[in-house]
Amino acid sequence: MTADLDRLAARLALAADDAGLLDVAFTTLDTPVGPLLLAATGRGLVRVAYAAEDHDAVLQSLADRISPRVLRAPARLDPAVRQLEEYFAGRRTAFDLPLDLRLAAGFRRDVLTRLREVGYGTTASYAALAAAAGSPRAVRAVGTACATNPLPVVVPCHRVVRSDGALGNYVGGVAAKRTLLDLEAAA
């Protein structure tokens, strides 16, 4: 029955996409920083979530905020999976994926846009990012924008560190932040 259900659920995901009913597609990917949940709307990648964020809770939040038509549908995430695998193998320094930033609004969204300009293997301070986003005194708000980044790894909030050189917090945990920065330094 389980094999039947897996097969039927996969078939449903394809039919749903064909019928324009696949509002949120998701899959999971095992990585050096643990399993990542990847979710995409028709517009692009909308969410990357660490296990620490509780994938079930994240899916419920996507159902609440975007649409309850949420299905495991790996095909839509194929490009994201391929690029993340290349990134974790040290063979990719930038992501070329359509992104759906609807889960971030206002200043937080401005910060995410600026974050995409912080290049692979480099870091920026919270203060520098606040200045770049046009609000030099909004250092704490930049921290909040990073902590609530809906697209960690792909939008590189791990490259934002404290002005005194300390790592600072990270949505995926400090160990994951260290892993990503080490990966980029080694490549």
């Binding site: 449903l12 749903a16 009913l21 419920q60 309850p68 495991r72």
Partner: protein
């Protein structure tokens, strides 16, 4: 109350709906009935009032899809000069419960549906009557007659559910 991700609905209720589809339209057409049921449910899902009892809702959709399929199968049935090979009376070779599906398939349609909706999906007879027509008491009798027939024809019968 909030609507759960539809994936959760598929995982939680998919097996029951598949059993119901197998019982009502047979194992060969069950996959199509299941797929049509969940695609229609996915389309309507955002408008479902949060807190609704999802399984009876799905079984109701499955019932409509099964009726469509049975009608289409009846339309496709055309007289032929030579009889085709008779399908196995014991279901798909190697398919677990194949004999049970064959025994179910041999029941009259109303008995088959009432057995499926009550004993597989757990619907109360009042709701079943609304689906198949007639009174709840008639639905109860049809299901009881169906189960009695299954006890006579299904060799593997061992328990009530």
């Amino acid at each position: 109350m909030r609507l759960e991700p539809f994936e959760t609905v598929v995982r939680r209720h998919g097996p029951t709906v598949l059993r119901v589809c197998r019982a009502v339209v047979g194992p060969d057409s069950a996959d199509d009935a299941w797929s049509e049921t969940f695609l229609a449910a996915l389309r309507a899902y955002p408008a479902l009032p949060p807190g609704s009892d999802v399984e009876p809702w799905l079984v109701t959709i499955a019932h409509r899809k099964a009726v469509d399929q049975l009608r289409a199968a009846a339309r496709r049935a055309v007289p032929v000069a030579e009889l085709p090979e008779v399908p196995s009376a014991t279901g798909l070779p190697g398919e677990r419960d194949g004999e049970l599906w064959a025994a179910l398939a041999a029941l009259p349609e109303k008995q088959r549906k009432t057995v499926a909706y009550h004993h597989l999906a757990g619907l109360p007879y009042a709701e079943i009557a609304a689906l198949v027509g007639g009174t709840p008491e008639a639905a109860r009798r049809a299901a009881a007659d169906g189960v009695a027939a299954l006890r006579r024809t299904y060799r593997g019968a061992s328990d009530d559910r």
